[in-house]
Amino acid sequence: MLRVEKLESGYGPMQVLWGPDIEVKAGTITSLLGPNGAGKSTLLWTILGSVKTRQGRVLYKEEDVTHMQPHRKVDLGLAMVPEGKHLFKEMTVYENLVMGAYRRDAMARKEENLEMVYSMFPILAERQKQVAGSLSGGQQQMVTIGRALMTNPTLIMMDEPSQGLAPKLVMEIFETIEKMKREVGLTILLVEQNAAASLDAADYVYVMHEGSIKAEGTPEKIKASDDIKEAYLGL
């Protein structure tokens, strides 16, 4: 579904990515682990195209999309749940979700997708007329995920979706992620600080450090390696 080859990018004089290779297979949850500042978020933004690629390629559905503009990639079904939510706080929940269906193709499927989001997060249906900024942190995260689902995606990249949430809500978010894979059939690329929960949910894991991939494998393999856990994951 998605393949990243020797990707290099950064901000101004600072290079962040030093050629990581990753592959995300259709219908799986691929988890990207690593300490703060490893370049995980930058990798996601470079895949989306809002950080410019300097070297390497991004292939999505067998197509080279390396230099495609972000809004075109959204058209192709690449969605993003950014770190820190980035909701439209002064818009209502409903308006936030409709913004997710901004692209024409997504707009055509607005009603079905809205129904799916409301069935996944019934609380959002109740609160649809409420201003998003007035919701609790967990509910705001639901809006962010819902908004991404409204773009009619095939692949969702999620950046720290459980950040700042209470343990019970973290569990719920992870359940939602697995539900999105099982019931909606989405492919998910997950960036998480919460290594333990992430290892449980993932089908395949990449460990990133200082802008490149240091280890990869099935969650079982990563869990079995004390070296990796100690060096990069703090487990």
């Binding site: 809002s50 950080v51 809004h71 950014p82 980035h86 439209f88 706080k89 913004m99 901004y102 991404a148």
Partner: protein, 360 residues
């Protein structure tokens, strides 16, 4: 007697305030989307005033009909300025966070400030040695800018650069218009009768100007809240990262909002001449820039409708205080009114820095 006069002037103030409000919406829109303070704001009002004047005098087209022409002219002008000077300073990258380079900022400042000095010199506004010393001074400023901010604090450098560049563009426009029309103050006379409401007399042109302002504000409100294109721009104001992941072309929205902001400002210049059809000259924009800043702060800076209501409040304060100051013997009411406006600005900034009409 004084109360009747006050009431009459307040009505005038409300009508003028509507136009003031409209004249600030463009400033607020640009600030809301791009976080740029358009220091050359008044020059664009001046362009609108000349548009109205020329269309009326040369072609006999009444100012009301000139409104769409002014909007289009302003939007084109805005697009040109955005791509020539503003884009390198605000170009969004990363997760939507602006990371312009200090070098781009420096180059933009150097080019447009030089152009500005050359234009001022050509028009005779500066003598040769003045032009030279200003130029050297600005080059020094540019060097300082690069030195202090060029390395790590590039965003600061770009922020400063946007102020200098919009200022330079204002001056360039003034001098350009002066080359075309000289600095003589002009006026036009469009008489379509007046309305006597007892306490004061309102020419229909003034009423039309206010009506036009209110209509434009309402249209803008509906556009922002009910249309797909308007929602896209609003989403960029609220959260450009969020807008990007929804598939909004953020770079284009930046260009479009700058262009629309300038378009609205030029349009407001036409409306202002309907209120005050005299004193149209290349340097007329200055006082309007200052007033627009006060109004924008009154209304909460980043909100175009806030700005509109800020304008109404400002119109009332200006005319009301003028009437009251005029009663005090030995006081020059015009100067004191101006002073009073800025006193209000100061007080608001002290007690409510987010603006008077802004929730939060």
């Amino acid at each position: 007697m004084i109360f009747e006069q006050l009431a009459g002037n307040l009505v005038q103030g409300l009508v003028l305030g509507a136009v003031y409000g409209m004249a600030t919406m463009g400033l607020s829109l640009i600030f809301g989307v791009l976080q740029i303070v358009n220091v050359g704001h008044g020059a664009f009002i001046m362009v609108g005033a000349f548009t109205a004047l020329m269309m009326f005098q040369a072609l006999g087209i009444p100012p009301v009909i000139a409104l769409p022409a002014a909007l289009i002219l302003g939007m084109l002008l805005g697009m040109v300025i955005y791509y020539a000077a503003v884009k390198p300073l605000v170009s969004p990258s990363g997760s939507g966070i602006r990371k312009p380079s200090g070098r781009d900022a420096g180059i933009a400042v150097a080019i447009f400030i030089s152009l500005m000095v050359v234009m001022r010199f050509l028009s005779g506004y500066y003598k040769l040695h003045t032009a030279f010393s200003i130029f050297v001074g600005l080059l020094f400023l540019y060097g300082l800018l690069l030195y202090v901010y060029g390395g790590r604090r590039q965003e600061k450098a770009a922020e400063l650069a946007t102020l200098l560049v919009t200022f330079a563009f204002g001056v360039i426009l003034e001098e350009f218009v002066k080359q075309l029309f000289t600095s003589e103050a002009r006026g036009y006379n469009w008489d379509i009768g007046k309305l006597d409401i007892g306490i004061t007399v309102l020419p229909y042109t003034k009423l039309l100007a206010a009506l036009g302002s209110v209509s434009i504000a309402v249209i803008l409100y509906l556009w922002f809240n009910k249309t797909r294109a308007g929602m896209a721009m609003r989403s960029v104001v609220e959260d450009s990262v969020g807008a990007r992941v929804c598939g909004v072309n953020v770079d284009w929205q930046y260009a479009l909002s700058f262009s629309l902001g300038i378009g609205l400002t030029v349009t407001s210049g036409v409306l202002l001449t309907m209120f005050i059809p005299v004193g149209i000259n290349p340097y007329m924009g200055g006082p309007y820039t200052l007033k627009a800043f006060v109004i924008a702060v009154l209304g909460g800076l980043a909100s175009p409708y806030g700005a509109f209501f800020g304008g109404l409040v400002f119109g009332l304060i200006e005319n009301g205080s003028y009437t009251l100051f005029a009663v005090i013997p030995g006081v020059e009411p015009f100067a004191l009114t101006r002073f009073f406006s800025f006193l209000i600005l100061l007080v608001i900034l002290l007690i409510r820095p987010t603006g008077l009409l802004r929730a939060k």
